[in-house]
């Protein structure tokens, strides 16, 4: 079976700062991949290159075997959902409107249908009661769950999570991870940049350790997290787990 998403020899520089130094990665349908690594190792940049929020300096990202280009980026993005560290909900419209806006404007879904779908998605993230709340009236954990529902609104084939719990108070992390766990169980293909090692161990099929823009180590969670081969991985895990 060919990969749903394949990243080939990807380089990305910001000015003279080379952030990604040749990434090769294939993600199969239904797979959950955890990206781990220190801050600045390139996790976010890698995710942002996948849906072309950042344009790669060289190399390619293929979705279903087709390279993603400027011309097809908008179309491909409909099938790649993204969840941000800082939620980025639209503050001027309600939770349910946040979810239905893209289906209406991008897919041309009727307002009624979009609303029905959005209501179902809010139920899925356990926020059925908050449909008419504005983002400013929701807690961080609730906002992030709305953001997940919003990304799901276009029925994407892949979901990218960019440190979805890093901006949350510790007591709110659990509710977001729970939603993500359910999503993984439903068979969604996911790439998750995270510092939550427990989540990675439990949910991921594969863990990838990024260090200074390169993939240093990858494999099943019990191997990478339990008995890492590389000294740098061991150092990183020791730092994260002792926090």
């Amino acid at each position: 079976m060919s990969a749903l998403l394949s990243i080939k020899n990807l380089y990305k520089s910001f000015g003279r700062n080379e952030v990604l130094k040749g990434i090769d990665l294939e993600v199969a349908e239904g797979e959950v991949v955890a990206l781990i690594g220190a801050s600045g190792s390139g996790k976010s940049t890698l995710l942002r290159c996948v849906n072309r929020l950042e344009i790669p300096t060289s190399g390619e990202v293929e979705f279903r075997g087709e390279p993603i280009t400027a011309a097809n980026a908008n179309a491909v993005r409909r099938e790649i959902g993204m969840v941000f560290q800082r939620f980025n909900l639209f503050p001027h419209i309600t939770a349910i409107e946040n979810i239905s806006l893209a289906p209406i404007k991008v897919l041309g879904t009727s307002a009624n249908e979009a609303k029905a779908q959005a209501t179902a998605l809010l139920e899925q993230v356990k926020l059925g009661a908050k449909a008419d709340a504005y983002p400013g009236e929701l807690s961080g954990g609730q906002q992030q769950r709305v953001a997940i529902a919003r990304a799901l609104g276009l029925k994407p084939k892949v979901m990218l999570f960019d440190e979805p719990t890093s901006a949350l108070d510790p007591e709110l992390v659990g509710e977001v991870l729970e939603v993500m766990r359910d999503l993984a169980k439903s068979g969604m293909t996911m790439i998750v940049a995270t510092h939550e090692m427990g989540f990675a161990r439990e949910v991921a099929n594969r863990v990838i350790f990024l260090d200074s823009g390169r993939i240093l180590e990858e494999g099943p969670p019990e191997q990478v997290l339990g008995s890492p081969k590389q000294e740098r991985t061991r150092e990183f895990l020791a730092r994260v787990l002792n926090k």
Partner: protein, 522 residues
């Protein structure tokens, strides 16, 4: 607050008052003349120096009284009013003696010059050969001059009369073919046409004969008595003849002197004060301000001020309606990645922000006709205000768009929206809420700036106020009333916007923060 304003005003007046009683003038050692120095050959600026016939005569009068002459240059609209407010002792600006002005409290000296209302047309425009031909034409006049009164008397309807601040503006308007003719004081028109406007010419002889006088406020007849003495003296000892020859380019004839003597009674009846009396005056006691709000003047002004306010509102609203979307378009061009669009918008904004609005109005009204673009006063005014507002509004929008967190655009794009859809549905709705306060500022500024279009003959609120004040009403009262009118338009606007902001408050987090801050402070 208004009471405070009035108090401050009165306070100012008492400091600056040059109440024209003789003892005060004597103590000051200066005789203060108000004039409008755009009026050759009577008074005009040359090499930063005010010169002219009036200046020479006025200086001689001051000398006769043992005083130093001091000249204040004002707009014509402010010249007569400055007498009542005590900013000056005498007004001298080629001012025609009229019964109407006397009735309003102005005291005139004996006539010191013969003048008359003269018509100017484009060279060879044979449709206009005399006053009767003006009736169905468009006629430019200088506002609140005897030229305007003479044209009105001919039966030219008000909407056929374009009223300007300066004689020169009227001449330009005839040259630009918007007006068919202009009417003004013969000596001034002659002097201006000698130096410029080769496309224009005088039509025959003056159709109204007039005499000019020197003016004081009604509390000061003794000063006028002294002026008369000095003028009489000058006519006899030859100083008058010298000034006449110098400024009008022809010798003073016995016929002119005789005519001036015959019309001596044009001046106001005043006590005959020997010049020596000035020198024997005792040291004065200081008197206070004479400010009082004259309700009857304010009441009489209101119907006209309402008309002016209507025009002000129309100008402002139309300019906002045109300027806001135009400004938004320029803002989008400025942040556009397409370089040429970016350049065009940047150049536009810099040019408009870097030049005075008054100049832009002049260019649109007086210069565009030279390249074949004819605009009515109203259209030119709206156009100038809209284009000006658009530049400022575009900067407001640009700053507003740039203040929206970049994560908003990224989230929208990650949902498959293209740039346009993201702008329209995500970025701009947030921008509008955020720029509302600075946009209100701009709207209020625009409302006030709209007074500048009065230079292209639009009788908006400020111009109406000026006209009423020039016309002999108490300027202080009139301008305070105008201030109330402006407040009556700006305060509801700011109130409305505050309501809107309050309505949108729970929506965006920063405001929530502000509200929390307030609660903590309380």
């Amino acid at each position: 607050m208004l009471a405070g304003l009035a108090l401050a005003w009165a306070g100012l007046a008492s400091v600056a008052v040059a109440q024209g009683s003789l003892p005060q003038i004597k103590q000051r050692g200066e005789l203060i003349f108000a004039t409008d120095p755009t009026y050759p050959p009577f008074e005009y600026m040359e090499k930063a120096q005010m010169i002219g016939f009036d200046v020479d005569i006025g200086n001689e009068i001051a000398k006769d009284l043992g005083l130093k002459a001091k000249w204040i240059g004002l707009e014509w609209a402010g010249v007569l009013g400055s007498l009542e407010s005590g900013k000056c002792d005498l007004a001298m600006a080629g001012i025609t003696i009229t019964a109407e002005r006397k009735g309003k409290g102005y005291v005139f000296s004996r006539p010191y010059l013969l003048s008359g209302q003269e018509i100017v047309r484009r060279k060879g425009d044979t449709r206009i050969n005399g006053p009767k031909d003006l009736v169905n034409k468009i006629v430019a006049v200088q506002q609140e001059t005897t030229g305007q009164f003479a044209v009105a008397k001919l039966g030219v309807p008000k909407d056929h009369m374009l009223r300007f601040d300066q004689v020169q503006d009227g001449l330009m308007d005839v040259r630009n073919k918007r007006s068919d003719a202009t009417v003004g004081d013969l000596p001034t028109l002659k002097a201006i046409l000698q130096k410029g406007f080769p496309e224009l010419e005088l039509v025959g002889e003056p159709f109204v004969k007039e005499t000019l006088g020197i003016v004081a406020w009604k509390n000061n007849p003794e000063l006028v008595g002294l002026v008369n003495r000095s003028l009489n003296q000058m006519m006899v000892d030859g100083r008058y003849a010298v000034a006449y020859k110098k400024w009008f380019g022809e010798p003073l004839t016995a016929k002119i002197v005789g005519e001036l003597e015959n019309r001596k009674s044009d001046g106001s009846p005043v006590p005959d004060v020997p010049i020596a009396a000035m020198k024997e005056l005792p040291q004065p006691k200081v008197t206070g301000s004479s400010f009082s709000f004259r309700w009857e003047v304010a009441g009489a002004a209101i119907p006209q001020l309402i008309k002016g306010a209507e025009l002000t509102l129309a100008l402002t609203l139309l300019s906002l309606l045109i300027g806001t979307p135009t400004g938004l378009i320029f803002a989008l061009m400025r942040i556009s990645p397409v370089k040429p669009l970016n350049w065009i918008a940047t150049v536009y904004v810099e040019i408009v922000r870097g030049t005075p609005l008054l100049m832009q109005i002049y260019v649109i009204y007086f210069v565009l006709p030279a390249v074949g673009v004819e605009l009515s006063s109203f259209v030119a005014g709206v156009l100038a205000l809209s284009l000006n507002a658009a530049a400022y509004i575009s900067e407001i929008f640009r700053a507003g768009i740039e203040s929206i967190d970049s994560g908003q655009m990224e989230a929208a794009r990650s949902l498959g929206m293209d740039y346009r859809v993201a702008m329209v549905n995500v970025i701009l709705p947030q921008t509008v809420r955020r720029v509302l306060p600075p946009l209100t500022n701009e709207a209020v500024a625009l409302l006030k700036d709209s007074s500048l279009v009065s230079v292209v003959a639009l009788a908006e609120l400020m111009r109406m106020g000026k006209e009423i004040a020039t016309n002999g009403g108490s300027p202080t009262t009139v301008y305070l009333t105008v201030a109330v009118f402006y407040l009556a338009m700006t305060l509801p606007l700011t109130w409305l916007v505050r309501r809107l902001e309050a309505k949108w408050q729970p929506i965006s987090r920063p405001r929530d923060g502000a509200r929390r801050l307030k609660r903590v402070a309380a």
